[in-house]
């Protein structure tokens, strides 16, 4: 009897801690171009997982493979612990990067159509709830073609999550949105997570990724280059960044020993220092020339890490 209970607990634990997505060594090529190369990734249930990477690095291909729209050439994909090939799961919401809606349909009608496709429950209540939440209620009987771009994007978001799926995959959900609408979508995503939904989203907005994601995965040239929590990623790079604000700006920061790179933001500068450089020596060198208003030793930002990984290639490309 006790053994049976233990088994039940083990099975329950397994399902509770199960990864929603498991990619095991997947690769995908288009003719000679290898879009995704031997990618392994586990997305835990209930997490928000950010996919970052430069344009053309393989994010959308990876997402399409998770969605079963494309099939990997090799490797395996498990969703909710099971391999599906060729079918669509109703409990996954997908918002592609380039998205369109039937313009001649009315807002409510369109959401109902998407809800029915997903076999959603209480669709009418959900439509009302989300239209209210995303401030589109008064447009519910208007045709989609009458909506502004921002409103259309919010509508597309609602169409994706109308059936409250267990997994939501959003490809660039914030692109083109003003800060107010981006914040509305962000809060909706967080609400979904609170209710147990696993969220995967790709973005070029590093600030949003830093703020929202439990885990961040970066793909570059089809290969995984980063995967983990923000702090674990930053830890790999150490405290090699100084944020500095001086009276004389950029001009006094040249030719100081130990500084590898200076990024000028106008009113402040970000310094990447060489390994094992004494930060106090740098502070002293700067103070010898000007008055220092701010001096902060920090971990590199996600944006900085992104640029460090992706920029060398571009520079080489520019020189070529």
């Amino acid at each position: 009897m006790q053994q049976k209970q233990i088994m039940i607990v083990i099975i329950a634990e397994y399902y509770l801690n199960m990864n929603t997505i498991e990619l095991q060594g997947i690769s995908k090529s288009f003719e000679k171009h290898k879009a995704v190369d031997d990618l392994t990734l586990h997305v835990p249930k209930g997490s928000i997982y950010g996919f970052i990477g430069p344009n053309g690095s393989g994010k959308t291909t990876t997402i399409r493979m998770i969605m079963n729209i494309l099939y990997p050439d090799s490797g395996s994909i498990k969703l909710f612990g099971t391999t599906y090939r060729g079918s669509r799961l109703d409990n996954i919401g997908y918002l592609p990067e380039e998205r369109g809606l039937y313009k001649k349909m009315k807002v409510k009608e369109l959401l109902s159509f998407h809800g029915q496709l997903k076999n959603g429950k209480n669709i009418n209540n959900e439509i009302k709830y989300w239209l209210d939440k995303l401030d589109l209620q008064k447009w519910s009987n208007k045709k989609v073609e009458t909506l502004s771009k921002g409103m259309s994007q919010k509508l597309q978001f609602i169409a994706t999550i109308i059936d409250r799926p267990d997994l939501v995959i959003l490809d660039e959900p914030f692109s083109g949105l003003d800060p107010v609408n981006a914040d509305i979508i962000r809060s909706a995503v967080l609400e979904l997570q609170e209710n147990g939904t696993t969220v995967v989203f790709s973005t070029h907005d590093m600030n949003m990724a830093e703020k929202m994601c439990d885990f961040i995965f970066m793909i570059y040239k089809g290969k995984k280059v980063l995967d983990g929590t923000l702090s674990s990623i930053q830890d790999k790079y150490g405290n090699d960044t100084i944020k500095i604000q001086t009276e004389d700006g950029m001009s006094v920061l040249n030719n100081i020993e130990g500084i590898e790179k200076v990024t000028d933001f106008g009113r402040m500068q970000e310094l990447k220092i060489n390994e094992n450089t004494d930060t106090q020596k740098i502070l002293a060198a700067v103070m010898a020339n000007t008055k220092v208003n701010k001096f902060e030793i920090a971990k590199p930002s996600l944006n900085d890490i992104f640029i460090r990984i992706a920029a060398p290639e571009k520079e080489e490309g520019n020189n070529a």
């Binding site: 729209i69 669509r88 369109g100 998407h114 496709l117």
Partner: protein
């Protein structure tokens, strides 16, 4: 299947709610069948203005007979027997003395009179028509008018002219004039249908007189109705899919449905639209035919065949159109692919007349067994009054079912690859590669 129905329902509702569908229902039959319908409706509504025909009778023995025949016709034939209203033009024969000095000048003058609408036509009767000699020119009868090839008066003139010629020849042979009438009495052959058993009474059903409605109009209408429905339901799928791909609606839907479900939803929506359209036409046609007293010619036995062929035809053409649409990147691509894709629909139209004329001929039989042509041409053959061997529609049906399955399968494979492919021109070799390898 549930998702296919949801997609089909959306397609159907979107299509039938548009003004173009309603206008199309009215315009399309007028466009396709209007000419034929107008011909049958207006064939008796002729121009009743009197026609003057000048006769240059070089023989000197025919003009008077023509005048007599015209007068008799004008008295008995041109007025409606009940209303006494004039329903046909009177033919007025105007004898002109031949100008022996300058015959060509005289014919030129008469031609001018025809052009000026003073006379309708002129007839030149050769000198030796009773006894044709060595010179064929002297024994010819020539009818000059602006469009003599299709001029009914020319056909009418032949009878009294030849009648008089034969009468004169008989008189010369000393045959009794009474006997000449019997000799020249012409009997037309009435075309009849076949005799059948009346299922209600158990007796014999009289054969009906064969008429153009049964022989030509019904096969013609059924073929055009199907052509129209396929054009309405299947052909637009090419541009519709292309637009949904370019407007990025397709990828949004592909998050919820498979490419095959997406394609089949669109095709099924098209089938529903065409079933609605054809039902309206068929029911309307049955009511109209019944009201006009033509209930006997309604081909009830052909209607199920029509519907089955139409559904299969739309499945076959629609899946190919949707697949091609998925491979297109802009309207230019779509335009360049549309015409070749429509050829299997257009080609049978060229064979319509030979097939109607000889439904059992080798050409009609063999063409109607080629799967892409079967729905249109086999239907025409079945709708004609001639009985075709029972095995042929069944063989045709099997052929088209197999061909439709192949089309849907290949279309689905092309669609799956094409719908996500951007910026790649749809070449035939690429499409074949997608169909085979996926």
């Amino acid at each position: 299947m549930r998702k296919i129905f949801i997609l089909a329902k959306r397609e159907y509702r979107t299509a039938v709610r548009t003004k173009s569908f309603i206008i199309g229902l009215v315009i399309a039959p007028v466009f396709f069948g209007g000419g034929l319908i107008a011909y049958f409706l207006l064939k008796d509504k002729v121009d009743t203005k009197d026609k003057i025909i000048a006769v240059l009778d070089r023989s000197g023995v025919i003009a008077s007979a023509l005048e007599e025949a015209a007068n008799e016709r004008n008295e008995t034939y041109i007025f409606d027997s009940i209303t006494e209203k004039k329903i046909k033009p009177a033919y007025i024969i105007k004898t002109v003395q031949p100008d022996l000095t300058d015959p060509n000048r005289q014919k030129l003058d008469l031609s001018r009179q025809v052009r000026d609408k003073n006379i309708h036509a002129f007839l030149e009767i050769g000198h030796d028509i009773i006894h044709p000699g060595d010179d064929p020119e002297r024994s010819r009868i020539k009818y000059y008018s602006e469009n003599s090839f299709v001029d009914d008066i020319k056909n009418w003139i032949s009878w009294p002219v030849n009648n008089r010629i034969r009468q004169l020849r008989a008189v010369e042979l000393n045959i009794d004039p009474q006997a000449v009438d019997d000799l020249l009495y012409w009997i037309n052959i009435d075309g009849m249908g076949l005799i059948s058993m009346d299922n209600k009474t158990g007796g014999l059903k009289d054969a009906r007189e064969s008429n153009p409605l049964e022989s030509i109009l019904i096969p013609y209408i059924l073929m055009f109705l199907m052509f129209m429905m396929v054009m309405m339901a299947a052909v637009p799928l090419l541009s519709a899919v292309m637009e949904e791909k370019m407007e990025r609606i397709a990828e949004v839907l592909l998050g919820s449905v498979t490419p095959f479900q997406f394609m089949m939803g669109k095709v099924l929506g098209g089938i529903s639209v065409s079933l609605t359209g054809s039902s309206i036409y068929i029911i309307g046609g049955i009511i109209t035919a019944t009201q006009l007293g033509y209930e006997d010619v309604i081909p009830y036995n052909i209607i199920p065949w029509f519907l089955v062929y139409m559904v299969l035809n739309i499945l076959m053409v629609g899946s190919v159109m949707a697949a091609l649409g998925s491979a297109c990147n802009d309207s230019k691509d779509a335009q360049s692919l549309q015409f070749p894709a429509m050829l299997p629909l257009i080609l049978p139209m060229f064979f319509l007349l030979p097939v109607i004329k000889e439904p059992l001929g080798v050409l009609a039989t063999s063409l109607s067994l080629i799967p892409p042509f079967t729905p249109l041409l086999m239907l025409v053959r079945q709708a004609s009054p001639v009985s075709i061997p029972t095995w042929q529609p069944i063989a045709g049906l099997i052929g088209i079912v197999i061909f439709t399955v192949i089309s849907v399968w290949a279309g689905g494979k092309i669609f799956r690859t094409g719908i996500l492919m951007q910026g790649k021109k749809p070449k035939l070799s690429t499409l074949i590669k997608w169909a085979i390898k996926g």
